[in-house]
């Protein structure tokens, strides 16, 4: 019972872990390179959701001190900043991975990693 209620209360953690696992699964099991990259993005999204939800406060506002200095409940900026960085990293990783896939496609004419492995084996 405890576990279930814990899950329901922390549904966003649960959701993010599910997304993370889906992403990882796609990334590691699918042979299509583009799908791998998509899995990578899904996985990262899961993590992003998880981290952002740690710092999120219901009804909180952006953490910028207002001019009159009223006490406002701020959302913790650190996870958001981390995730902002994470997103940038994710974009660059995706871009880099995509460019590699383009290169691979030029060499092998396919984006399927199994086929590429097969071709390499035959080459040897």
């Amino acid at each position: 019972m405890n576990i279930i209620s814990g899950l329901i209360q922390n549904y966003f953690y649960f959701a993010s872990i599910v997304i993370f696992l889906i992403g990882t699964h796609v990334m590691l099991t699918h042979s299509n390179l583009i799908k791998k990259i998509m899995g990578m993005n899904i996985m990262e999204t899961g993590i992003f959701l998880f981290v952002v939800s740690i710092g999120y406060i219901r009804g909180g506002s952006a953490p910028i001190v207002p001019i009159d200095g009223r006490g406002v409940r701020f959302i913790n900026p650190l996870p958001s900043a981390l995730i902002l960085t994470g997103i940038v990293v994710g974009v660059s990783l995706t871009a880099f991975a995509l460019s590699l896939v383009i290169e691979l496609y030029k060499y092998y004419g396919t984006t399927d990693s199994d086929e590429i492995m097969e071709m390499r084996r035959r080459e040897r």
Binding site: T24, L28, M40, M43, V51, V89, L100
Partner: protein
Amino acid sequence: MNDPTVHIPVIVICTSLIGAFLAPVLGKYRPALVGLMARLIAPVNALLLVILLRYVDAGETFHYYMGGWAPPWGIALSVDYLAIYVALIIHLVSAVILLYAKDDLFGEVRGDLHRWYYTLFLLLVAAMTALAFSHDFFNIFVFTEIATIAACALIAIKPKKECIEASFKYLILSTVGSGFILLALALIYMVTGHFNLTLVAQNMGAAAEAYPLNIMVSLALLIVGFGVKSALFPLHVWLPDAHSSAPSPSSAVLSGLVVKIYAVVLIRIILTVFGGEVLAAAPIADMILIIASVAIIAGSLFALAQTDIKLLLAFSTVAQVGYIYMGISLLSETGTMGGLVHIFNHALMKTLLFLAAGAIIHQTGLRKISDLDGIAKRMPITMAVFSVGALSMVGIPGFNGFISKMYLATGAFDAGKPVFILVILMSSLLNGLYYLPIVVRAFLGTNAEEGKFAKDELPLSMTFPLVILGLACIYFGLLPGSLLELVRKAAHYLIAV
């Protein structure tokens, strides 16, 4: 703090960064200057680090706060012996590699990409240095990613399909690793509320009590995440392809430095942040110890089966990373020293071996070990230096590899686990089994086709770094006193906290 010495860590990182981003612009108009600049930056930085070391020697180790903001707001750099030691290794070794790269690159990388090669290389150096100094999970994550992308690009820059494929494989697995790391950081942040290592460490005790599950899961995720990046044994699958297909200077820097920096970061986190209580609660250290032993033996066995010289070296790296993990997870002072000193020694040896292999490939285009019969007649200096590296790997006394094995073995005994001495000895034997035949072949073998190696000896810019590394291997094998002093302090720092 008006003493300019305290800024050295930042300056070192910044000069590499500036160099990295000057390179593409400069390379466009003055291509000759780029290499020169890159080759100047690393030694100058190493010099600065030595000055910093003197400074730290005189007083306490300290933390440097970016923008003058103390934690929990600011980003901190920890200026301690471990960081300086690792940073010194990075800059010294990359200085040598950059020297070597001057002529070798022409054979492996398209001419118009040279400036980008230097960009990536310096970026990687900057990221690794920053990782060494980082005292903040945030920074650790960011620079891990920068280092990963730069490393992948350093492989993919060679226009061959093997490189692209290896790079892709590396990228995908590293991304999984990064994901794990990020998740772990989030879990730690969740229960401790900080990213700064010191503050997290302070809150760790209470957090571990309240949320043991979070701490354990994050620890596991960290080990897997950094384990992938540092090629800890079952997670090493990307390494052989990546390190063997890359251009030789890249292989050298990847094998010699990059995998280790992640190991250092992981170890720093585990030992200084999680600390004794968490380690006592779960047999983490023992698990790593066993994994490392398996890595040592399995890596060597895989290496034994290789016919391609660079693949062999790459698998040997898997085994050697095991040494580093083993040394530190022994949790005795000598063991930790062994692990840390092996970071330096292996950086020297493996860089040397990769560069020597690169020189052979550059000269003759031969990669298969069976083709190397009698090659020492054509390339005596290269092969002599290669032999130094090989003997060092085997752990012949008088060469630096012996020092680390010695310390690892005494460390295993100190830790009350003499079984692991056998692992080290066994792997020495295996190293002998796969390194010595190459040397024997090269010097004593006779190749059927005379005049097969018709080219001349190497250019000076390639011979010189090799010889420097070879001499360093012997020097630090015979007189490691000052090195060990530094390592002892670094180990003390790790164990004491």
